[in-house]
Symmetry: C2
Subunit: 243 residues, 2 copies
């Protein structure tokens, strides 16, 4: 499994992904699940992947080759005129890769599925955030649902639902995401460190800070320990049930 | 879906279950998922159910009929000499019911599956808590894993993992469970109020308080609102990330 979160804030986008892949509990590896494309002053795109690793690597390779091979007739991520067209391109690539490897048997394609989060901005448009499904369709984050999660989403969802605020700073958003990742990490072996963090500042049209948060990172350990203590004292500060 | 939690404490057992059943989002109902058997001074048993409603109702009916029909040759929950034997009886009943209704087709039995939590005490033994699988086998809670969840378990798990303490009072345990149920309720439509709460005090050999917590219960609303605020201030009290 995997855990990735993309947050749409007033200041821009914050994306975070874990790096654990597994085929069974005795076959685990570390792979980057966050990929970026940038043409400063024109566009910055961040893609996060969950699902079959062969599928997601293939999708990224195809998208990369398209951006490199100049004679290619298909539009590339560096040429599409809008984020909506970028999402369509990524979604079509994903659908094609799954279809190419899926067997003809019933349900056989499920194992090759993947789900993606695409965020970024292209000159002339606003920052946008999309959740792309294996069927090749996608939805966009709006005011009512301003963040997307993919992978092992349930453990880390309650804190996002309750503490997310579109006006929050990048520094606070990263803290919130680390709490959400920590809750997931504590409950599910298929999500693992290090985490990749990418910030995109609205209208900058270039990628912002990109940081890898490794195991034993002092700030993460402080958040993880501190959050456990804060939760206990939060529980203590509420009145006990009375029979 | 469903959400049920059974906590093993030093003082005894606390069990809580929701009451929502659904076959699709447009076919929801309210059914009790908690069932008890009691012979004061001799035994007290609490069963919680998750899964196919026809299966779990059938299991409970069979267990009930066995306790009523005196000429029956099978052992009943009122006659088994230990909690282990009670768990075996319930597990065998569950397995038989699933087998009786399962089609011969591949995977056809999955839809009739159910998972159960059985807790209680029979004279001569200690209080015990079991998680019973649809295959008819089961595991017992111990010091390392002192609680079980069934149904929609993920949203409400982080707070249980972090705040559970075997020495906690019943009053605090109910508060903890309501926080866990509230996180689940906020994230998943298939879990719904009212909640059923059953307390069993160790060595009392009779059922303790049984309470139904309904929608708009003032204490639950206080916990739900208060927890949201506490979470936000807990997050505020941790240091922000620094780039």
């Amino acid at each position: 499994m995997t855990y990735c979160v993309g947050l749409m804030l007033e200041r821009g986008l914050v994306m975070m992904s874990d790096t654990r892949t597994n085929a069974g509990v005795d076959n685990i590896s570390t792979f980057r699940k966050m990929f970026t494309w940038e043409k400063p002053g024109d566009r910055a795109l961040v893609l996060m992947t969950a699902g079959n690793l062969a599928t997601t690597q293939s999708v990224v390779s195809i998208l990369d080759e398209r951006t490199k091979a100049h004679g290619e007739r298909d539009p590339s991520l560096f040429e599409v005129p809008s984020m909506f067209q970028a999402a369509r391109l990524v979604a079509r690539t994903l659908k094609d890769v799954i279809a190419a490897h899926a067997d003809v048997g019933q349900r056989a394609d499920a194992a090759f599925n993947a789900t993606l989060i695409l965020g970024g901005q292209i000159k002339g448009g606003a920052p946008r955030l999309f959740l792309i499904y294996p069927e090749g369709n996608f939805i966009e984050a709006g005011d009512d649902t301003p963040f997307f999660q993919i992978g092992e989403t349930k453990y880390g969802r309650p804190i996002l639902v309750r503490a997310y605020d579109p006006a929050m700073s990048f520094e606070k958003a990263v803290k919130l995401m680390l709490v959400s990742f920590d809750s997931t990490l504590k409950a599910n072996l298929s999500v693992g460190m290090p985490f990749d963090l990418q910030v995109y500042e609205a209208d900058s049209l270039q990628l912002g800070r990109r940081i890898r948060i490794r195991a034993h990172d002092p700030y993460f350990e402080q958040i993880s320990t501190g959050w456990g203590e804060e939760l206990k004292s939060a529980l203590d500060s509420l009145p006990d049930f009375e029979f």
